[in-house]
Each structure stands twice: as C-alpha cells, then as structure tokens.
Symmetry: C2
Subunit: 190 residues, 2 copies
Amino acid sequence: MKMEGGSTPNALLGLLSLRPMSGYDIRQMVAQSIGHFWSESYGQIYPGLKRLAAAGLVEKKTERNKGKPDRNLYSLTAEGRERLHEWLKIPVSDEVARNELLLKLFFGAHVSTSVNRDHVASNMEFHQRALKVYTATAKQLRKEEANDPNLSYWLMTLNYGRHYSVAMLKWCRETLAELDEIESKGKRRR
Amino acid sequence: MKMEGGSTPNALLGLLSLRPMSGYDIRQMVAQSIGHFWSESYGQIYPGLKRLAAAGLVEKKTERNKGKPDRNLYSLTAEGRERLHEWLKIPVSDEVARNELLLKLFFGAHVSTSVNRDHVASNMEFHQRALKVYTATAKQLRKEEANDPNLSYWLMTLNYGRHYSVAMLKWCRETLAELDEIESKGKRRR
DNA sequence: GAGATCATGTAATATGTTACATGATTTT
DNA sequence: AAAATCATGTAACATATTACATGATCTC
C-alpha cells in the first residue's frame, strides 16, 4: 500500500476534498481553479484515480445517465482525507523551477536584440493577461464563495499570482529598456 | 539526425558556447551560473552530450591527465552553434510552472494555520537567502566579466531573480499577516 | 586513514504529455 | 452537416532524478 511521494496523487485527493468528481470534472476544475499554478493531463488523472481507488483512498461510484455517457464519480474515503492531511504537513521542498525564457536570455548575446525583445515582450503580454484574470477571479470568489472556509486560502494563491505578475511586468519594462540601450550602443560602434 | 525539441540539449549547446567543457564541468557550471533558474543532472548531461556528438553538434576530445582521471572535453561545432542560434529564435511557450507551495496553501483550510505559516515562513527564508546571492553575484560579475558581451544578458537574468524574490517576500509578509488574522478569528469563535 | 572532490557513465525508476481509440449528444 | 462538448481510457513517447558502479587523488 505504499503511496509515492509525488504531488499529483495528492493534488487529486485535494480536489476531491472539495466535492466528488469524475476524471473529466477534475480536468476542468484544475483549469478553472488552480490553473495558474498547476496542471494535470488525462494521462495522469485517470490512471491516478485508479491507483488511489486500489489503495482505498478514494471510492468510485458509477453514475448512469440517459443519453449522456456514464460518469465515474470519485470521492474521498476517511483514509484518503487523512492521507491528504499528512501530505499537507510535509514541508515544501524548494527546488528551482526551470525557466526557458531566462535560459534563452542568458545566451541572448548570440542573437539580435530584436529576438530577445520579442521573448520579453510576449512574456509581458502574458502577465498583463494574467493580472486581469487574477483580479476578475478574486472579485468573483469574494462574491460567490463568501462563506467558504477555503476562501482566504484561495485568495492567497491569487495574491501570489498578482505579486508575481506585477513584479514581472516591472522586470519586462526594465529589460526592454536595457535591450534598447544595447542596440543603440551596437549602432554607435559601427 | 532529428534533434528533439527539448530544451536540455539546447542548454548543453549554450553552455558549451561559453567554453569547451566536460560533463562534470557542465554540472558545476549550471550550479554556479544558471542555477537559480535551471538544473541538470548527470543522468541528463552525459547521455545528452553523447547524443549531441552523434548528431555532429559537438566534438569530443579526450584530455589525458597524469594522476587525475581523463576528461572528455566537448566543444561546439559550427553546426552546433547554428542549431543553438535557431533554437534561441523560437518563441518561448508560456506554460504554467507547477508550484507545490501554492497547491498546499490552496488546500490549507484542512490543516492548522501554523502548518501553513511554516510553509510560508520557509519560503520567505528561501527568498531572503536568494536575494543575497543575486546581489553578490551581480557585483562579482560586474567586476570580473566587465568586458564580456554576455554581461548585460547575465545581469538581466539576475535582475529577474531579484524582482521575483522581492515580490515573494512582500507576498510572504502579507500572507503571514492574513494567517494570523485567520487564527485570531478562529479563537474568537470558540 | 577517513572523507571530500574529481571524473565518467548506466540502470532503475518516476513523472509527464500527446496521440490514439471510441462514441453519443448538443450546438452552430 | 460539421464542430464542439461530454466522457473514459490506453499506449507510446519524452523527460528527468536517483542510485549504483568504479577508482584515483587531495585534504584534514
């Protein structure tokens, strides 16, 4: 009954703690709720649920529907809930997240400034879009989930995103200015 | 001769563009230079170099040493350099980085506030340490690599880290305050 | 003499995405 | 009639870490 340390099965347990869901539901839920810092593909979700069921951490109930296809609804068992709580207590390992933008920028001297500028500019657009989503989602949550005990925690994760995107926009502006300077220096030298 | 889209082989090409290196060197170099946004393990590096050599993108020269073990020095070929440049031009795909801290915090209502506080506090310490490293590294680079054409780009990646960590420290402080509030509310209710 | 560092590499394992396969219903 | 959505699942492939295996020299 050894359950691996991976966070994916624990993410599944966490999501099922909100309400019983099918694999399909989970995929949608991830995109809507934790999509700004997490992702799961069907190839992880379906086999993952199966393994969790085999370990007795979740329970499967097949819901038959006329017309629509059957849904396999999974819900947390007492043991599953306990396992989730245990995992939540384990300290988060701070490992470096790989950042392809920075990797390309680190070797940026090999290509023209315009190439680097494009990378930074599209990152800037990304964070501008993200900021709008964070603001809208926070507003919506405050209204629709006003009494949910999870609300404060959900807002914390949104606030993380907000701080992050604001900082990144500032960095993008600074970096674009620096790239302009590099370019004008290059021209002067010619 | 199909080369995969993965960024690891391209990271290797980039590092070898700085100077010829052995697999061992590369590991050290990653930790020192791009360690705050990238990581590579030996299990990726050695087989990776082998594949790059087979594809003609790098060249291997064995350096025999008295006493010390032999070193396999790899250097970029013209084709490898070209491949690196091509890759640098490809737009960066903005996919969500998984964040385990946020995942745990999202489900934070299941555990006590002190558990959540611990997670945030250790993240705070992480960024305090990181900030010191960024500052020290920037200072050192400005001195030692003053004439390197890469300098500006290296400083950009460090500046990214600085902005990021500053923002995260702010978020940590806000979040710790919010957790304190949640706790005092919980006590009042009893 | 014990442990760290130099140095290379493979094997086992873990983790993850994408493509494929299927098929009904609902929307345009 | 076509396309999107609902729904489940597997197989192939890609990517990455960790443990193992080896052995010398250098430092305490």
